[in-house]
Structure formats: structure tokens, C-alpha cells
């Protein structure tokens, strides 16, 4: 076995299987959650459901994260709020505007777009990695959080951290031969894809459910979500 073959394996069959598990697994999870059903909301419709949903997204995703001091979660623990936010922002920028990743989207969907300059990406991926380390230390030291953190949560952290760190090292051409670190990046990405349907990282999907339903309920009652 040499690394050229390992790279071919991880770019080929391994990633393929990981994507299969990802797609089938997430569909499975989605149906299970949908079929759980939810309690009938017998409240009278006093406002607009749609308006509630819109306001909920605007506030939750686009406004409040950028003026965090109005939030209790922020005032409770500024560091985790910032680290968590920065991590998600970095992840988003790297996955959507990193040239290598754009080429992945392009191969899946048939079209691509312009990426961000490498130095900017480098800054954000470094920031993302540091944020993740901060979040980890926080989890390891915070007395309550430590008790709340079960085994799968550590796995969540690991399967996101490994692609981040290997991707960063690869893009800077540090220490490893390119095919070695490329293989490691793809193996860790495959681990992530396989793990997502079974763990809490599927929140990137379910977050939008709770946000929508919560917004609709609030809108119906004509209260601000």
C-alpha cells in the first residue's frame, strides 16, 4: 500500500460509501422526526404564521448573533458564544467559498462560483480551529458542562476538528506530502459524513425545523418570537 493508492481509495470508494450513508441516513432521520408528529396547536390564529417565521430567522440567524450582548447566552459566557459563532462562520466560509470545496459542489450540482482569496480563508480556518479548541477546553473545564457532555459529544467535536485541521495543514502545504494529508483530510471528512446522521451534528438540518415551527407558533399568537 502506498499513499497514492490510499488517496485514490479515499477519493473514490470511501467517499462514495460515506456519501451513501450520509444521504440515506439523513433521509431516514428526517422521516423518523417528521413521523413523530407534533401536538396539535389549538391556539386561535391571531397573527401571521409566515411573519413569525421570518422574524424568527431574521432575529436568530442574521441580527442577534451580531449584537450578542442583548442575549442572555452571551452574557452568561461570552467566550463560548464568540467561539461558537466564529466556528460556525468559519465553517460556512471554508465549505462554501473555499476553491477546493467549490469544486466538490460543482461536481455534484454542475455549477460553481468564485471563491474567497486564500489569505482570507486561511485566516478564517485558523480562527475556526482555535475556536474549536476553545470550545473543547471550555467543555473540559466547565463543571456543569463537563457533566452534561456524554461520549457522543466528544465524537462530534473530533469528527469536525479532524477535517478542519487536516484541511488547514494541506492548504498551507505544511509537514506532509500532499497526497498524504489529502488522504487524511478525505478519511476524516468521510468519518464526519458517516457520523452526521447518527449524531447531533444533524442539527444543521433540524435547526431549521425548530426555528420554523417555533416562529410559526409565535406568529400565530402574534407575539414576538
Amino acid at each position: 500500500m502506498n499513499w497514492t493508492n490510499i488517496l485514490n481509495f479515499s477519493r473514490g470508494p470511501l467517499l462514495h460509501v460515506a456519501m451513501i450513508i450520509f444521504v440515506a441516513g439523513l433521509s431516514y432521520r428526517l422521516v423518523r422526526v417528521l413521523l413523530l408528529g407534533w401536538a396539535r396547536d389549538r391556539a386561535k390564529n391571531k397573527g401571521s404564521k409566515l411573519w413569525g417565521v421570518i422574524v424568527n430567522y431574521l432575529k436568530g440567524l442574521f441580527v442577534l448573533p451580531f449584537i450578542p450582548w442583548v442575549r442572555r447566552t452571551f452574557r452568561h459566557n461570552e467566550l463560548t458564544f464568540i467561539a461558537g459563532g466564529l466556528f460556525h462562520l468559519s465553517l460556512f466560509l471554508v465549505l462554501v467559498f473555499g476553491t477546493a470545496h467549490i469544486l466538490v459542489w460543482k461536481s455534484l450540482w454542475g455549477f460553481g462560483w468564485k471563491g474567497l482569496p486564500t489569505p482570507i480563508l486561511a485566516f478564517f480556518s485558523a480562527a475556526g480551529i482555535i475556536s474549536m479548541i476553545v470550545l473543547l477546553i471550555n467543555r473540559l473545564t466547565h463543571p456543569v458542562l463537563k457533566m452534561l457532555t456524554r461520549f457522543p459529544v466528544w465524537i462530534n467535536w473530533l469528527v469536525v476538528f479532524l477535517p478542519m485541521i487536516t484541511g488547514f495543514i494541506m492548504a498551507r502545504h505544511l509537514w506532509f506530502r500532499y497526497e498524504v494529508i489529502f488522504s487524511l483530510h478525505l478519511i476524516s471528512v468521510s468519518l464526519l459524513l458517516i457520523w452526521v446522521p447518527f449524531g447531533r451534528i444533524s442539527h444543521f438540518l433540524f435547526y431549521f425545523f425548530s426555528k420554523t415551527i417555533h416562529g410559526a407558533q409565535a406568529g400565530k399568537r402574534a407575539v414576538t418570537p
Binding site: G12, L35, K106
Partner: protein, 383 residues
């Protein structure tokens, strides 16, 4: 009778001493001698200059014959050599440092040619260099590639038996190349997969860079051993770096400036070709250093992404114009739909099963409760 040395042979052909020393310098350069410590190779303690090492060897060594076999190939590597940037040098290697048998280039044909080969193999048993171009094929005992009625497997074994070293030139001979592309109907393999008892060196490329092939042959002839190699048996002096390592577009890569198509603004400005599918980052070859046509240019310089032709499986490693990061096997629409279907079906089935279980449990619970309360067991007001 003592055999003539290469030097004597060259002098006889009218080469002056001055030209001879110049030649030695060129040869030293071609062998990548700057990278290989000649001192170590010759077992000497004090290092002479690379030219001196070459001169010394040419003055003391007789011509060593090369037997060049072609299997499943396009003769592109031979073409490249015969038209290489330094035709004088390759002539020298092929004629004066000696080639005895090359099916495509030799004047003899048919039985004559076969006879020449056999005689050479006998006379120089244990001494000659075997160069293989094109892939051996295993399927059905090698009948998909035969020469003079013999299967390529027999030819290879027979020729390798008396070889001092084996040089596989071109991706086909090294890793199976294009004949080995999926589904590899002839079961093409690399030479090193078959020849285990002789030193084998791989000079992959499509074609192999002629100066690298001749340089490696010279290395063996002059130093008496093959150059140091990497994991894939490629000589380190030529395959120690990736195309990306020495690429002249690299600053654009670092800045994140990419050509988006072959004729856009970026392409005109000479931006990096990564988005157009460049395989430079994982491709080990000397293209960016030696270049082609007397150092004139090489694919990436001319505006074409590197295809990765010196790597195993380059033909099946995803599209040539598809980004290197794109998965090799993609999920198309129909397989995605199937997968979603499978997931949905499994989820629905399990949810259904759970619902049935739950309602049974509920019923049982109710039964138990009503029995415990001692009420009329026959009543069925609620289901």
C-alpha cells in the same frame, strides 16, 4: 580481445577531447548528478566533480547493450526519445553507449531482428539493461500482446532473466497506464508487478520525459547502479518534487487567483489552473524543472492543467478537467433518489412498526386496567 571502452569508441568516431569533456558535463547534468552524491555511488572517499566521474566511467567501461521491448503501448515514449530536445544526446545513448535491440527503431526486421536479440541476450547475459515500454498483460496467459509468436509474459521473463537492471518507461510499463484503465480488459499490470528478482526502476509519464529515461539509463551505465527511488520506484532526482512544487503559476495559487475557464481573464493573466482540474499538487515529475523541447515549455506553462500522467491510475482518477478535490465516484440524481427512497422507506417502516407496538401496548394496558378495576370485560366502548 579486450572490449573497446566507450571513450575509445567515441574518439574513433571523431569526437575531440574537448568535446568529450563537454559531453561528460552534459551527461552529468542529465543524470541529475547534482542530487546523487557520486562519491557514495563510486565508493570513493574524496569527491571528484560530476564531470570527472562521468569521464572516468566512459574511459573505463565498454558499451553496455540495451534491449528495448514494447508491449501494450503507443510507442510514444520511443517517439519522445527519438525526437527529444537533445537529439544528439539521445543518439549518443542509443547508438554509442549502445542499443542492440529496439523493435521500432532498429533497421533489421522479422527473423533477423529476433536473431539479433537472442544473440545479444546470450552474449551479454547478466550485463545488459532491459527497457520496457508498454504494459505486460496477464489475461489468458498474455495472448493479447504477442511478438513473433511469443506472449509478452514469456518475452518479458526471458529478457529479464539475463538483465542487470530493468527500466520501465512510460505510465503503461510502470503502472499499467491506459491499457489498465477501467475495466482493464487485458489485465494490464506494471513491470515491477511481475519482475521481482531484478532491480526495477519506473520512469512514468505519458510519455516519459525523454531526458529522464536517458538520464536514468546513463546513471546505470556510468555508475553501475540505478538511482535512489521513492515508494513507487521512481528515481528521486527526477521525481522528488511535485509539478506544483516548482510551478511558475504557484504565486497565483497561493493568492487564490484561479483561471475559471480556458479563455477568461484569469487564463490570459496566467493564473493557477487548479479550478480547471490541475493535478499538479499530487503529481511527482520533473516537468516543471526540466521542461520539454530544450526547456521551452511544459503543459502547465502552456496553459493546460497537469493531467497527473506520472501517477498510478491517472486515467481513472476523476475527469481531467474536473477539480482534483472532486470525488472520483459521484452520486448522480438517480442514485441519490434511490438512497433517499431507501432512507425514507426504512424510516417509515420503523415508525409504522413503532406505532403498531405502541397501540398494542396501549390496548394491553387498558385491558389490564379495566380488568383490575373489575368492570365489565365485554364492554368495548373505546378501541
Amino acid at each position: 580481445m579486450k572490449e573497446k571502452t566507450i571513450y575509445e569508441h567515441l574518439r574513433e568516431k571523431g569526437l575531440s577531447r574537448r568535446d568529450f569533456m563537454k559531453l561528460c558535463g552534459t551527461i552529468a547534468g542529465m543524470m541529475g548528478l547534482e542530487f546523487v552524491p557520486p562519491v557514495k555511488a563510486l565508493g570513493k572517499t574524496l569527491g571528484p566533480s560530476p564531470e570527472e566521474v562521468v569521464a572516468q566511467a566512459l574511459k573505463t567501461k565498454p558499451k553496455v547493450p540495451i534491449i528495448w521491448l514494447e508491449f501494450q503501448d503507443c510507442a510514444g515514449c520511443s517517439e519522445a526519445i527519438s525526437r527529444s530536445s537533445s537529439p544528439l544526446l539521445s543518439n549518443l545513448v542509443l547508438n554509442d553507449i549502445a542499443i542492440e535491440y529496439h523493435e521500432t527503431l532498429m533497421a533489421a526486421a522479422g527473423f533477423q531482428a529476433e536473431k539479433a536479440k537472442e544473440e545479444c541476450m546470450k552474449k551479454y547475459f547478466g550485463k545488459y539493461v532491459l527497457v520496457v515500454e508498454g504494459s505486460p498483460t496477464l489475461a489468458d496467459d498474455g495472448i493479447y500482446c504477442t511478438v513473433a509468436g511469443k506472449s509478452n509474459l514469456d518475452l518479458l521473463k526471458e529478457a529479464a532473466a539475463g538483465a542487470a537492471a530493468v527500466i520501465a518507461t512510460g505510465n503503461c510499463a510502470c503502472f499499467g497506464g491506459i491499457p489498465a484503465a477501467h475495466p482493464n480488459p487485458t489485465r494490464a499490470v506494471g513491470v515491477a508487478d511481475l519482475i521481482k528478482d531484478k532491480p526495477v526502476v519506473n520512469i512514468p509519464g505519458c510519455p516519459a520525459i525523454p531526458e529522464v529515461t536517458t538520464g536514468t539509463i546513463l546513471h546505470f551505465l556510468i555508475l553501475g547502479q540505478l538511482p535512489e527511488t521513492d515508494q513507487l520506484k521512481r528515481p528521486l532526482p527526477f521525481y522528488g518534487h511535485t509539478v506544483h512544487d516548482h510551478c511558475l503559476r504557484r504565486p497565483f495559487y497561493e493568492a487564490g487567483k484561479f483561471a475559471g475557464s480556458f479563455d477568461d481573464e484569469g487564463a490570459r493573466k496566467g493564473y493557477c489552473l487548479y479550478r480547471l482540474g490541475c493535478k499538479g499538487p499530487t503529481t511527482y515529475n520533473a516537468c516543471a524543472g526540466l521542461k520539454w523541447e530544450r526547456g521551452l515549455s511544459y503543459p502547465v506553462q502552456s496553459g493546460h492543467p497537469c493531467l497527473g500522467c506520472s501517477e498510478p491510475h491517472f486515467w481513472d482518477g476523476g475527469g481531467f478537467y474536473q477539480g482534483q478535490s472532486a470525488p472520483i465516484v459521484r452520486l448522480d440524481k438517480s442514485s441519490t433518489a434511490t438512497l433517499v427512497g431507501v432512507g425514507v422507506a426504512a424510516g417509515a417502516a420503523l415508525a409504522g412498526l413503532n406505532a403498531v407496538k405502541k397501540s398494542r401496548a396501549k390496548k394491553d394496558l387498558k385491558k389490564d386496567q379495566s380488568q383490575a378495576a373489575g368492570s365489565d370485560p365485554g364492554s368495548k366502548k373505546e378501541g
